[in-house]
Symmetry: C2
Subunit: 152 residues, 2 copies
Protein backbone atom coordinates (compact mmCIF):
# COMPACT_ATOMS: atom_id res chain seq x y z
CA UNK A 1 0.00 0.00 0.00
CA UNK A 2 3.06 2.22 -0.14
CA UNK A 3 2.01 3.52 -3.52
CA UNK A 4 -1.28 4.76 -2.12
CA UNK A 5 0.48 6.78 0.53
CA UNK A 6 2.87 8.20 -2.03
CA UNK A 7 -0.01 8.93 -4.31
CA UNK A 8 -1.86 10.80 -1.62
CA UNK A 9 1.20 12.93 -1.07
CA UNK A 10 2.02 13.63 -4.67
CA UNK A 11 -1.45 14.06 -6.06
CA UNK A 12 -4.29 15.19 -3.93
CA UNK A 13 -6.97 14.88 -6.57
CA UNK A 14 -6.08 11.73 -8.45
CA UNK A 15 -8.46 8.90 -7.73
CA UNK A 16 -6.43 6.13 -6.17
CA UNK A 17 -7.05 2.62 -7.29
CA UNK A 18 -8.88 3.09 -10.58
CA UNK A 19 -6.68 3.35 -13.65
CA UNK A 20 -3.62 3.27 -11.43
CA UNK A 21 -3.98 -0.29 -10.27
CA UNK A 22 -3.92 -1.56 -13.84
CA UNK A 23 -0.48 -0.26 -14.80
CA UNK A 24 2.11 -3.03 -14.99
CA UNK A 25 5.51 -2.49 -13.39
CA UNK A 26 7.42 -2.41 -16.69
CA UNK A 27 4.90 -0.02 -18.22
CA UNK A 28 4.91 2.22 -15.15
CA UNK A 29 8.70 2.51 -15.33
CA UNK A 30 8.60 3.17 -19.07
CA UNK A 31 5.91 5.82 -18.65
CA UNK A 32 7.79 7.71 -15.94
CA UNK A 33 11.05 7.53 -17.90
CA UNK A 34 9.11 8.91 -20.87
CA UNK A 35 7.71 11.78 -18.83
CA UNK A 36 11.11 12.80 -17.49
CA UNK A 37 12.70 12.26 -20.91
CA UNK A 38 10.21 14.51 -22.65
CA UNK A 39 10.61 17.19 -20.00
CA UNK A 40 14.38 17.05 -20.58
CA UNK A 41 13.86 18.09 -24.20
CA UNK A 42 11.67 20.96 -23.16
CA UNK A 43 14.06 22.16 -20.47
CA UNK A 44 16.84 22.07 -23.07
CA UNK A 45 14.69 24.04 -25.52
CA UNK A 46 14.01 26.77 -22.99
CA UNK A 47 17.73 26.92 -22.16
CA UNK A 48 18.64 27.20 -25.85
CA UNK A 49 16.13 30.01 -26.29
CA UNK A 50 17.42 31.93 -23.28
CA UNK A 51 21.03 31.52 -24.39
CA UNK A 52 20.43 32.02 -28.14
CA UNK A 53 17.66 33.54 -30.22
CA UNK A 54 14.55 33.86 -28.09
CA UNK A 55 11.30 32.65 -29.59
CA UNK A 56 8.38 33.38 -27.31
CA UNK A 57 6.03 30.82 -28.85
CA UNK A 58 8.53 27.98 -28.63
CA UNK A 59 9.21 28.73 -24.97
CA UNK A 60 5.48 28.84 -24.22
CA UNK A 61 5.01 25.42 -25.83
CA UNK A 62 7.93 23.96 -23.90
CA UNK A 63 6.77 25.47 -20.60
CA UNK A 64 3.22 24.20 -21.17
CA UNK A 65 4.56 20.67 -21.65
CA UNK A 66 6.59 20.81 -18.45
CA UNK A 67 3.62 22.21 -16.55
CA UNK A 68 1.21 19.56 -17.85
CA UNK A 69 3.60 16.72 -17.05
CA UNK A 70 4.44 18.15 -13.63
CA UNK A 71 0.74 18.26 -12.83
CA UNK A 72 -0.12 14.90 -14.38
CA UNK A 73 0.15 12.91 -11.17
CA UNK A 74 3.25 10.88 -12.01
CA UNK A 75 3.36 9.70 -8.42
CA UNK A 76 0.80 7.13 -9.53
CA UNK A 77 3.54 5.53 -11.65
CA UNK A 78 5.57 4.54 -8.60
CA UNK A 79 3.54 1.37 -8.26
CA UNK A 80 4.48 -1.37 -5.78
CA UNK A 81 7.33 -3.46 -7.15
CA UNK A 82 8.59 -0.74 -9.49
CA UNK A 83 11.63 -0.02 -7.33
CA UNK A 84 13.32 -2.54 -9.60
CA UNK A 85 12.63 -3.40 -13.21
CA UNK A 86 13.14 -2.29 -16.76
CA UNK A 87 11.05 0.21 -18.68
CA UNK A 88 13.02 1.74 -21.55
CA UNK A 89 16.00 0.91 -19.36
CA UNK A 90 16.56 -0.33 -15.80
CA UNK A 91 14.95 2.07 -13.37
CA UNK A 92 17.29 4.42 -11.56
CA UNK A 93 14.76 5.30 -8.88
CA UNK A 94 16.42 4.96 -5.49
CA UNK A 95 14.58 2.94 -2.82
CA UNK A 96 14.04 6.10 -0.77
CA UNK A 97 11.48 7.44 -3.25
CA UNK A 98 9.18 4.64 -2.10
CA UNK A 99 9.77 5.21 1.59
CA UNK A 100 10.73 8.80 2.39
CA UNK A 101 7.26 10.15 1.88
CA UNK A 102 7.85 13.46 3.61
CA UNK A 103 10.83 14.41 1.47
CA UNK A 104 9.24 13.11 -1.74
CA UNK A 105 6.19 15.24 -1.05
CA UNK A 106 8.38 18.27 -0.48
CA UNK A 107 10.44 17.94 -3.68
CA UNK A 108 7.35 17.11 -5.74
CA UNK A 109 5.53 20.18 -4.46
CA UNK A 110 8.55 22.41 -5.09
CA UNK A 111 8.81 21.11 -8.64
CA UNK A 112 5.10 21.62 -9.35
CA UNK A 113 5.22 25.15 -7.98
CA UNK A 114 8.17 26.19 -10.13
CA UNK A 115 6.75 24.45 -13.23
CA UNK A 116 3.48 26.35 -12.85
CA UNK A 117 5.41 29.57 -12.34
CA UNK A 118 7.49 28.88 -15.47
CA UNK A 119 4.35 28.57 -17.59
CA UNK A 120 3.12 31.92 -16.25
CA UNK A 121 6.43 33.68 -16.90
CA UNK A 122 6.84 32.09 -20.36
CA UNK A 123 3.50 33.63 -21.36
CA UNK A 124 4.91 37.12 -20.73
CA UNK A 125 7.77 36.59 -23.20
CA UNK A 126 10.28 38.14 -20.78
CA UNK A 127 13.47 36.26 -21.69
CA UNK A 128 15.44 37.39 -18.63
CA UNK A 129 12.66 36.36 -16.26
CA UNK A 130 12.36 33.01 -18.04
CA UNK A 131 16.11 32.50 -17.63
CA UNK A 132 15.90 33.22 -13.91
CA UNK A 133 12.92 30.89 -13.53
CA UNK A 134 14.72 28.17 -15.48
CA UNK A 135 17.38 28.22 -12.77
CA UNK A 136 14.78 27.82 -10.03
CA UNK A 137 12.99 25.06 -11.91
CA UNK A 138 16.24 23.25 -12.66
CA UNK A 139 17.12 23.36 -8.99
CA UNK A 140 13.93 21.49 -8.14
CA UNK A 141 14.79 18.80 -10.73
CA UNK A 142 18.25 18.50 -9.24
CA UNK A 143 16.85 18.47 -5.71
CA UNK A 144 14.91 15.32 -6.53
CA UNK A 145 17.66 13.66 -8.61
CA UNK A 146 20.23 14.11 -5.84
CA UNK A 147 18.16 12.14 -3.37
CA UNK A 148 16.05 9.83 -5.47
CA UNK A 149 17.76 9.08 -8.81
CA UNK A 150 20.86 6.89 -9.05
CA UNK A 151 23.67 8.15 -11.25
CA UNK A 152 24.60 6.21 -14.39
Amino acid sequence: MKSKLLLALLTTTLAAGTAVAQVKVEDAIKFRQSGYGFMAWNMARIKANVEGTYNKEEVIKAANVIQAIANSGMGALYVPGSDKGKGWEETRAKPAIFTDKEKVGKVAMAFNKEANEMAKIAATGDAAAVGAQLGKLGDTCKGCHDDFKAKK
Copy 2:
Protein backbone atom coordinates in the same frame (compact mmCIF):
# COMPACT_ATOMS: atom_id res chain seq x y z
CA MET B 1 16.90 20.60 -45.35
CA LYS B 2 14.07 18.09 -45.28
CA SER B 3 13.60 18.69 -41.58
CA LYS B 4 12.96 22.37 -42.18
CA LEU B 5 10.22 21.62 -44.64
CA LEU B 6 8.68 19.13 -42.24
CA LEU B 7 9.01 21.60 -39.45
CA ALA B 8 7.24 24.28 -41.42
CA LEU B 9 4.39 21.87 -41.99
CA LEU B 10 4.09 20.57 -38.48
CA THR B 11 4.70 23.72 -36.53
CA THR B 12 3.95 27.07 -37.99
CA THR B 13 5.25 29.12 -35.09
CA LEU B 14 8.37 27.28 -33.99
CA ALA B 15 11.56 29.12 -34.88
CA ALA B 16 13.49 26.86 -37.22
CA GLY B 17 17.19 26.52 -36.72
CA THR B 18 17.67 27.78 -33.16
CA ALA B 19 17.34 25.15 -30.46
CA VAL B 20 16.39 22.62 -33.09
CA ALA B 21 19.75 22.46 -34.82
CA GLN B 22 21.47 21.48 -31.61
CA VAL B 23 19.54 18.26 -30.94
CA LYS B 24 21.64 15.17 -31.66
CA VAL B 25 20.07 12.32 -33.62
CA GLU B 26 20.05 9.89 -30.68
CA ASP B 27 18.57 12.51 -28.37
CA ALA B 28 15.95 13.53 -30.92
CA ILE B 29 14.83 9.91 -31.27
CA LYS B 30 14.77 9.44 -27.50
CA PHE B 31 12.79 12.64 -27.00
CA ARG B 32 10.14 11.73 -29.55
CA GLN B 33 9.84 8.19 -28.17
CA SER B 34 9.41 9.78 -24.75
CA GLY B 35 6.67 12.08 -25.98
CA TYR B 36 4.71 9.28 -27.60
CA GLY B 37 5.38 7.00 -24.62
CA PHE B 38 4.05 9.51 -22.14
CA MET B 39 0.99 10.16 -24.26
CA ALA B 40 0.33 6.41 -24.29
CA TRP B 41 -0.01 6.43 -20.50
CA ASN B 42 -2.41 9.31 -20.64
CA MET B 43 -4.52 7.76 -23.40
CA ALA B 44 -4.69 4.58 -21.30
CA ARG B 45 -5.72 6.58 -18.23
CA ILE B 46 -8.56 8.26 -20.07
CA LYS B 47 -9.69 4.89 -21.42
CA ALA B 48 -9.62 3.36 -17.92
CA ASN B 49 -11.68 6.26 -16.58
CA VAL B 50 -14.26 5.97 -19.33
CA GLU B 51 -14.54 2.21 -18.87
CA GLY B 52 -14.33 2.19 -15.08
CA THR B 53 -14.82 4.76 -12.34
CA TYR B 54 -14.75 8.22 -13.87
CA ASN B 55 -12.59 10.81 -12.16
CA LYS B 56 -12.96 14.21 -13.79
CA GLU B 57 -9.72 15.65 -12.42
CA GLU B 58 -7.61 12.73 -13.55
CA VAL B 59 -9.04 12.91 -17.06
CA ILE B 60 -8.39 16.66 -17.20
CA LYS B 61 -4.76 16.11 -16.21
CA ALA B 62 -4.32 13.38 -18.80
CA ALA B 63 -6.00 15.41 -21.55
CA ASN B 64 -3.87 18.45 -20.70
CA VAL B 65 -0.71 16.37 -21.09
CA ILE B 66 -1.80 15.05 -24.48
CA GLN B 67 -2.75 18.54 -25.62
CA ALA B 68 0.55 20.08 -24.48
CA ILE B 69 2.62 17.36 -26.15
CA ALA B 70 0.53 17.48 -29.33
CA ASN B 71 1.16 21.22 -29.54
CA SER B 72 4.82 21.06 -28.53
CA GLY B 73 6.20 21.01 -32.05
CA MET B 74 7.54 17.47 -32.10
CA GLY B 75 8.11 17.80 -35.84
CA ALA B 76 11.35 19.52 -34.85
CA LEU B 77 12.57 16.18 -33.51
CA TYR B 78 12.58 14.61 -36.97
CA VAL B 79 16.06 15.97 -37.58
CA PRO B 80 18.09 14.97 -40.65
CA GLY B 81 19.64 11.55 -40.14
CA SER B 82 17.09 10.45 -37.54
CA ASP B 83 15.37 8.08 -39.97
CA LYS B 84 17.75 5.52 -38.50
CA GLY B 85 19.26 5.35 -35.04
CA LYS B 86 18.61 4.41 -31.46
CA GLY B 87 17.01 6.57 -28.81
CA TRP B 88 15.49 4.43 -26.05
CA GLU B 89 15.27 1.82 -28.77
CA GLU B 90 15.79 1.70 -32.55
CA THR B 91 13.49 4.19 -34.21
CA ARG B 92 10.41 2.76 -35.87
CA ALA B 93 9.77 5.86 -37.92
CA LYS B 94 9.20 4.83 -41.53
CA PRO B 95 11.17 6.69 -44.22
CA ALA B 96 7.94 8.24 -45.54
CA ILE B 97 7.62 10.50 -42.50
CA PHE B 98 10.67 12.37 -43.79
CA THR B 99 9.43 12.62 -47.35
CA ASP B 100 5.64 12.57 -47.58
CA LYS B 101 5.23 16.09 -46.32
CA GLU B 102 1.65 16.50 -47.46
CA LYS B 103 0.36 13.42 -45.65
CA VAL B 104 2.47 14.09 -42.54
CA GLY B 105 1.03 17.59 -42.36
CA LYS B 106 -2.48 16.19 -42.67
CA VAL B 107 -2.16 13.55 -39.94
CA ALA B 108 -0.34 15.96 -37.63
CA MET B 109 -3.06 18.57 -38.02
CA ALA B 110 -5.80 16.00 -37.44
CA PHE B 111 -4.07 14.82 -34.27
CA ASN B 112 -3.61 18.35 -32.93
CA LYS B 113 -7.24 19.21 -33.63
CA GLU B 114 -8.59 16.18 -31.78
CA ALA B 115 -6.13 16.61 -28.89
CA ASN B 116 -7.25 20.21 -28.41
CA GLU B 117 -10.87 19.10 -28.59
CA MET B 118 -10.21 16.37 -26.00
CA ALA B 119 -8.86 18.93 -23.52
CA LYS B 120 -12.00 21.05 -24.00
CA ILE B 121 -14.34 18.09 -23.54
CA ALA B 122 -12.41 16.75 -20.54
CA ALA B 123 -12.96 20.07 -18.78
CA THR B 124 -16.72 19.53 -18.95
CA GLY B 125 -16.52 16.23 -17.10
CA ASP B 126 -18.95 14.58 -19.52
CA ALA B 127 -17.75 10.96 -19.47
CA ALA B 128 -19.75 9.87 -22.52
CA ALA B 129 -18.47 12.78 -24.60
CA VAL B 130 -14.91 12.05 -23.45
CA GLY B 131 -15.37 8.44 -24.50
CA ALA B 132 -16.56 9.48 -27.96
CA GLN B 133 -13.69 11.94 -28.31
CA LEU B 134 -11.19 9.29 -27.20
CA GLY B 135 -12.28 7.25 -30.22
CA LYS B 136 -11.70 10.19 -32.57
CA LEU B 137 -8.35 10.99 -30.99
CA GLY B 138 -7.26 7.35 -31.10
CA ASP B 139 -8.13 7.24 -34.78
CA THR B 140 -5.70 10.08 -35.47
CA CYS B 141 -2.94 8.21 -33.59
CA LYS B 142 -3.67 5.11 -35.62
CA GLY B 143 -3.86 7.11 -38.83
CA CYS B 144 -0.26 8.18 -38.34
CA HIS B 145 1.01 4.83 -37.06
CA ASP B 146 -0.43 2.97 -40.05
CA ASP B 147 1.57 5.02 -42.50
CA PHE B 148 4.60 6.19 -40.58
CA LYS B 149 5.43 3.77 -37.75
CA ALA B 150 6.85 0.30 -38.39
CA LYS B 151 5.32 -2.57 -36.45
CA LYS B 152 7.43 -4.47 -33.94
